[in-house]
């Protein structure tokens, strides 16, 4: 309530954070951990067997990986934080306080990780001969650091899903070592190795190598990919087993959205196809069928990317109405604040809204919508609120607003008095009928310009 609100047009706030996050996950998992594991492993093989092909392969992969890791991966990592600090300041502000020390450690680990990576890259040509062993160790050191960095972040991610005892104890250890920490960490590592081996395989199969080396390298990468993929279903099962049952029940909807929720078969078919394609690709590579694997490696990568997107999306859905379960709703309202706001009203307690002094019913409605709904919904964009309330009667919308969380358990409850629910219901009703045109729907508080009427 102490911060103004900004709403990203068309995409919506949640999806904006989501897109940055997924790009980051693909690179941090797939390249920074996955592909870099292949780089270090290849370099080691080249060193052990005195094989220049492995060495060249390792180096080529490193160059491609490092440009994307430092240019996109690191930036989108900070980008998740940057977007949340504009769109969800209370949420990120609270996480920073709960995890202040892990976050600070993350800084040190992150810096170390990058310094090692840079040294690793820039010393490639200098540390040769007997120094090569040291160079391989350096690569291993990098992998260790990236593992540390992944663990620190997974603790925070797991906390946002299953804070377990934290809402009562409020201690760092209960927050960090939460039930989904370990399964999620292992699952993310398996995903990293899958993506990494597929990236490496794509590089191997789409650039020029001596055929014998291509088959030999494909065999190793295929084997790694196969083992990692086979682990994933077990790790998903473990991970889901510890998620509170309330939110698991909407998992099919969460992944398929309302467009496909009535065709759950699509989900199982998609998972089956993805598994078959990735396994076939890995199997063919293992069996030294480079030409056949080449046909499948890009589809396998694309399907893995879709899988990662669905996985992250479902994680967000399972979090349900909370930004931090047991503490903060997705609307940036505290759990204990809701009863207060229900009694005292959201509008009188909205600092920015009152500062701007535009308290006609349209602006009130627009603000109530922004505060209560804009974490996920937009006007006229993705998850358009107008289609959600289209054809509903005004009193019907009012009734829904009072029961939103029990009716749809992954949606946060409305915070505000009965009178405010009526204002929002009227606003939504008129909005769905196209009778309200906001001049700056991206910013309700402060509203920029006039609200024009039909």
């Amino acid at each position: 309530m102490e911060f103004p609100l900004f709403q990203v047009p068309y995409l919506g706030n949640g999806m904006t954070i989501g897109i940055v996050a997924v790009v980051h996950v693909l690179i941090s998992h797939g390249l920074a951990i996955g592909a870099m594991t292949m780089v270090v492993l290849s370099e080691y093989l080249g060193f052990r067997d005195r094989n220049p092909d492995w060495e060249n392969f390792s180096r080529g992969l490193l160059l491609r990986a490092i440009i994307i890791i430092t240019g996109v991966g690191a930036v989108t990592g900070v980008g998740i934080w940057v977007t949340t600090s504009a769109l969800s300041p209370r949420g990120i502000g609270s996480l920073l306080r709960v995890f202040y020390w892990p976050w600070f450690m993350e800084w040190l680990v992150f810096v170390t990780e990058l310094v090692i990576l840079l040294v690793y890259y820039f010393t490639w040509d200098r540390w040769t001969g007997v120094q090569k062993r040291r160079h391989v160790y350096l690569g291993a050191g990098y992998l260790l650091m990236s593992l540390g960095s992944a663990s620190l972040i997974t603790g925070i991610l797991g906390f946002m899903l299953t804070p377990d005892g934290w809402p009562w104890e409020q201690t760092l250890s209960s927050a960090f070592f939460n039930p989904t920490f370990l399964p999620q960490l292992l699952l993310r590592l398996a995903i990293a190795l899958t993506l990494g081996s597929l990236f490496a395989m794509a590089y191997l199969l789409f650039s020029r190598w001596e055929p014998r080396f291509r088959r030999e390298a494909g065999r190793l990468l295929g084997r790694i990919c196969l083992v990692a993929v086979v682990l994933i279903p077990f790790l998903i099962w473990w991970y889901y087993a510890v998620v509170p049952s309330r939110y698991k029940t909407h998992i099919i909807y969460g992944i398929l959205t309302s467009h496909l929720s009535q065709h759950p078969g699509v989900l199982f078919a998609a998972v089956a196809i993805a598994l078959v394609v990735v396994l076939a690709c890995a199997g063919l590579a293992w069996g030294r069928k480079a030409a056949a694997a080449r046909v499948l490696v890009i589809p396998a990568l694309v399907l893995s990317v879709v899988f990662v997107f669905a996985f992250e999306r479902s994680r967000e859905f399972m979090r349900g109405p909370y930004l931090i379960p047991g503490y903060l709703y997705a609307t940036n309202v505290l759990l204990q604040e809701k009863p207060f706001l229900d009694q005292q009203g959201l509008l009188p307690n909205a600092y920015w809204f009152n500062m701007l002094g535009q308290d006609d019913p349209e602006n009130q409605g627009a603000f109530l919508l922004a505060q209560n709904c804009s974490a996920c919904h937009t006007i006229g964009g993705l998850n358009d609120i107008r289609t959600r309330v289209k054809n509903r009667s005004e009193d019907g919308i009012f009734v829904y607003l009072s029961h939103i969380n029990e009716m749809v358990p992954f949606m946060p409850p409305f915070s505000g008095t009965e009178a405010e629910r009526r204002i929002l219901a009227r606003f939504l009703y008129r909005l769905a009928q196209d009778r309200i045109h906001l001049s700056a729907p991206s910013r309700y508080t402060p509203l920029n310009g006039e609200v024009s009427h039909e």
Partner: protein, 520 residues
């Protein structure tokens, strides 16, 4: 701003430690930011200079400079994590307000960084391309990169000047006059500093030959000289008056800069190269003094505000305190509650309107102009019920429930069928109807009811636009008593009027007529 809550209040470190760490981390971050910016500017300049300016290309200075870009920018990014963390912890209210007020720019800097980083690194490490394309890509990357400090300076300047917040909010993402000037000079001052830092770095660490160093030396001296007028302009554009301590720190920085100039010109006069031993301490002195000035000014503006906010927040925390136990116990009961069975779905999603016993008397029924239907009275088909659950009934409170997947909706329908026989036939009419009454009823249907319900019960062109439209009587019925009730009293809030004026027997006849619309 007058509200904050408990976690945002909790500072993990004493204020002095927090400030000290912030200063250390920010200086380290800015050092690499400046070198990154300077590297980009110099790489582009020397590229142009070598290709079109006639300088010897054997130097390869542009390529050597550009090659270091990857390291500088990576360090600038990762070293930025700590200052961002510390700023958001130390000055939560001001910083988050600023990022929010300038949200579109603030979020966009990520995209700009990606464009700049990828372009420069690909040019520096990957592809060889025609020098015209190289220049085009490099200029695009440089433009993107230089915008980033502009955005960050705007956010910092906004955070520091809470007096301007309302004006920014009302102005729609624009900085008001005085703040805009301050922003411009601060931004230019950073670019000036980046020239100095970049040129100094490459003078000592990249330029291998004397010619390379000679090419870089003018950048150092020009950069330092440029900082003098820019610094003066920046000073005059400050929106708060610096107190004596801040002035003193600033003077130290200025003296450092003068000494640096003296060293540079001395070296030029003697034709001797600069030495790291003399230049590095002076450059660092200037950097530290300037950043200390920045932080002290920032503290002067932000600390009182944060203090007030914290006091208000503590008060607010006390107001919320009585609700904590209640909120947590509600959370505890909610968590294990599973929506994996039809009864739960019904009780949570349907019952507040339709009632726990599905009799249409839910707690919210009183708030609805069109009363929720008594579900126990419905006799319909499976596809029709499915259609209503998925699409709702337009013009009423009945929404669509695609939030439940196919399995859940199937379960729910099976539950309704089991408990309330919604898929059964309507049943026998509990009243005798003589043939004349039935004939009158049929005539009435044809004359009156068919206008909306259609001759076959499937609706008419007139009623299609009704909110709500009439139900399809070919596949939807109500049990006799309820059908009789609706015919007698009408359906409140809809176009369906009551026909109580007809004789009771005729109304039962209408029920029968309506049932006749359903195929056996």
């Amino acid at each position: 701003m007058n509200r904050l809550f408990d976690l945002l209040l909790a500072k993990p470190l004493p204020e002095a430690w927090l400030q000290g760490l912030l200063f250390f981390a920010f200086t380290l971050h800015l050092l690499f930011v400046l070198i990154t910016l300077g590297t980009a500017i110099l790489a582009v300049f020397f590229f142009v200079d070598f290709h079109w300016g006639g300088r010897s290309r054997e130097l390869l200075l542009d390529r050597r400079i550009l090659r270091t870009f990857m390291a500088h920018k990576s360090l600038a990014v990762v070293l930025g994590v700590a200052p961002l963390l510390l700023m958001q912890v130390a000055f939560a209210t001001s910083f988050f307000t600023a990022t929010n007020l300038l949200a579109p720019y603030w979020m966009f800097f990520i995209a700009l960084l990606i464009i700049a980083f990828l372009s420069f690194d690909i040019l520096g490490h990957g592809i060889e391309t025609h020098h015209r394309y190289h220049l085009a890509i490099a200029l695009l990357a440089l433009a993107a990169l230089l915008l980033v400090p502009g955005i960050l300076v705007a956010v910092l300047a906004t955070a520091e000047n809470s007096g301007q917040w309302l004006a920014i909010a009302k102005g729609g993402f624009r900085l008001p006059g005085p703040l805009a000037w301050h922003w411009l000079f601060r931004f230019l001052h950073i670019l000036g500093a980046s020239l100095v830092m970049g040129a100094v770095f490459h003078y000592f660490f990249t330029a291998k030959a004397a010619t390379g160093r000679a090419a870089l030396l003018p950048w150092i001296s020009a950069g330092v000289l440029l900082q003098v007028p820019l610094g003066l302009l920046l000073y005059t554009s400050l929106l708060v008056k610096p107190d004596p301590i801040i002035q003193a720190v600033l003077v130290v920085g200025v003296v450092g800069a003068v000494l640096l100039l003296w060293v540079i010109f001395g070296a030029v006069r003697q034709g001797a190269p600069l030495t790291l031993r003399t230049v590095l301490p002076l450059v660092m002195l200037v950097l530290v003094a300037m950043l200390l000035t920045r932080q002290l000014l920032q503290n002067k503006q932000l600390l009182p505000l944060e203090k007030t906010v914290a006091a208000n927040a503590r008060e607010y925390g006390q107001v919320l305190e009585p609700h904590v136990a209640e909120a947590l116990s509600a959370y505890r009961t909610a968590l294990p509650f599973s929506y994996n069975n039809a009864e739960t779905i019904f009780l949570q999603s349907c019952a507040f309107c339709h009632g726990k016993n599905a009799d249409g008397r839910g707690v919210e029924a009183k708030n609805l102009l069109i009363p929720p239907e008594n579900l126990t009275a419905i006799r319909t088909t499976r596809p029709y019920l499915y259609h209503i659950i998925l699409s709702g009934v337009s013009g009423t409170g009945m929404g669509y429930f695609t939030i439940y997947d196919r399995y859940q909706v199937d379960d729910l329908m099976a539950y309704l069928a089991r408990k309330y026989q919604v898929f059964a036939r309507p049943g026998d009419i509990p009243h005798p109807i003589a043939p004349p009454a039935l004939a009158q009823a049929e005539a009435t249907y044809a004359k009156t009811c068919a206008a909306c319900h259609g001759p076959d019960g499937g609706g008419s062109p007139v009623s299609r636009g009704f909110q709500p439209p009439p139900p399809d009587l070919r596949i939807y019925s109500l049990v006799p008593q309820r059908a009789f009730q609706v015919i007698t009293q009408g359906y409140p809030g809809t176009m369906m009027p009551g026909f109580g004026e007809f004789a009771e027997e005729v109304r039962w006849g209408l029920v029968k007529t309506v049932y006749g619309k359903r195929p056996e």
